[in-house]
Assembly symmetry: C2
Homo-oligomer: 208 residues x 2
DNA sequence: CCAATAATGACACCCGGTGTCACAGTCTGC
DNA sequence: GCAGACTGTGACACCGGGTGTCATTATTGG
């Protein structure tokens, strides 16, 4: 394999670099406005104007106004799924799920000052909240297949369709994460990791 | 307690009756159009015209186009919460949650032919799906407080804030319901109750 | 029958989002 | 150096969901 022709990952290329710069500029400007007037009250035209461009061009960088806020959530989901895939094989599904969140939890707690207003906005603005919940529910479909090896085979079910128990486990873990995150937002004293531990062990001990 | 002076429930009043009739008419007309062309492809103006009224009047009966589809979900959530509250006290939280779904499960299976296209549409149309997920997540806040008596007191937590473990249990049960419902849509052969049983017992047995 | 009240239609408007077109820049190969 | 091809951009019109307003029309109650 030659070098010189790597398509996207190792060669950002000037095109892609400027594109990323403009996206970052738009995000920064948008965030300033959101903090000042809220998400809904800020219009796309304002954001575009603040970054010195037309509304039409804004939509060439973000597919929607919500995408500006929630776009990177897709990658975060992939990171969690990757972390789950790399957990040792002797961990149970539930343990592995708990550990798969470690990176994200650490990241959030590391600069909580940046994440707290973001997450708070995600809960307060209705449209944003809906999209957030939906996007995060799609993590479930990324995580579920990774659990197959950690769960005994299904009793009677057909093997061709995806095992709903895996989806349920992944979904329950994500619910725990969401609940812990919410409690963490409401009570700045406690730390997120402890909350997640408490909530996930509650599921394992209180479900029979 | 006298009778004769119940304010709204037993005395619909002609005003409210016609209002309900118009709402029903709009829903029927809308559903016909949705089935023919899909949710997004059907415009509010079409629905209103089909029911013989202006677009403006449509929004006097439904706060949004999505509300026409998801409006009753609010009441369904209340029904589930009521069913949960009436479960015998000796049932565990998880058992009570499972049983609280019985009414809804029976209702769905009773006329599956009506629910199947509805639920399928909720999953296929993106905007609708987002609102659905969000609305159903609000069931969590209705169910969680009912579980307090079925769960041992928290270890170190403050008593003034809501117990996140309750929200996690309710949320996990709702996730199970959602997963079972999805599997039921994909595989018309199995019955919903059995799927819900399988998935909820999977959570209780596979979480350690 | 008449006055207060509610429902309606018509119209203008906002905002998120898209399609289109013409124009500028840049990057190629000749 | 130049003709392209490709890309990014602004301008404009347009769509559709949703709202504010106002004048007109039922309905209701006295």
């Amino acid at each position: 394999m030659h070098d010189m022709d790597a398509p996207q990952v190792p060669a950002p290329g000037l095109r892609e670099r400027t594109r990323r710069a403009v996206r970052a500029e738009l995000m920064a400007e948008a965030w300033r406005l959101f903090a000042a007037q809220g998400f809904e009250a800020t219009t796309v035209e304002e954001i575009a104007a603040a970054a010195g461009m037309s509304k039409r061009s804004f939509f060439r960088y973000f597919v929607s106004k919500e995408d500006l806020v929630l776009g990177n959530l897709e990658d975060v989901g992939r990171e969690v799924a990757a972390a789950l895939a790399e957990r040792p094989a002797d961990e149970s599904a539930w343990q592995a799920l708990r550990r798969a969140f470690d990176g994200l939890v650490a990241e959030i707690e590391a600069d909580a000052d940046r994440f707290r207003p973001l997450l708070t906005m995600l809960r307060s603005e209705p449209g944003l909240h809906a999209s957030h919940v939906e996007k995060r529910q799609r993590w479930q479909t990324m995580l579920a297949p990774q659990l197959a090896a950690r769960v005994p085979a299904r009793a009677g079910g057909s093997q061709d369709r995806p095992d709903p128990r895996l989806a349920a486990l992944a979904g329950a873990a994500l619910t725990c994460f969401d609940v812990a995150q919410t409690a963490w937002l409401d009570d700045p004293a406690t730390d997120l990791a402890a909350l997640l531990d408490e909530v996930m062990t509650a599921i394992s001990t209180l479900t029979p």
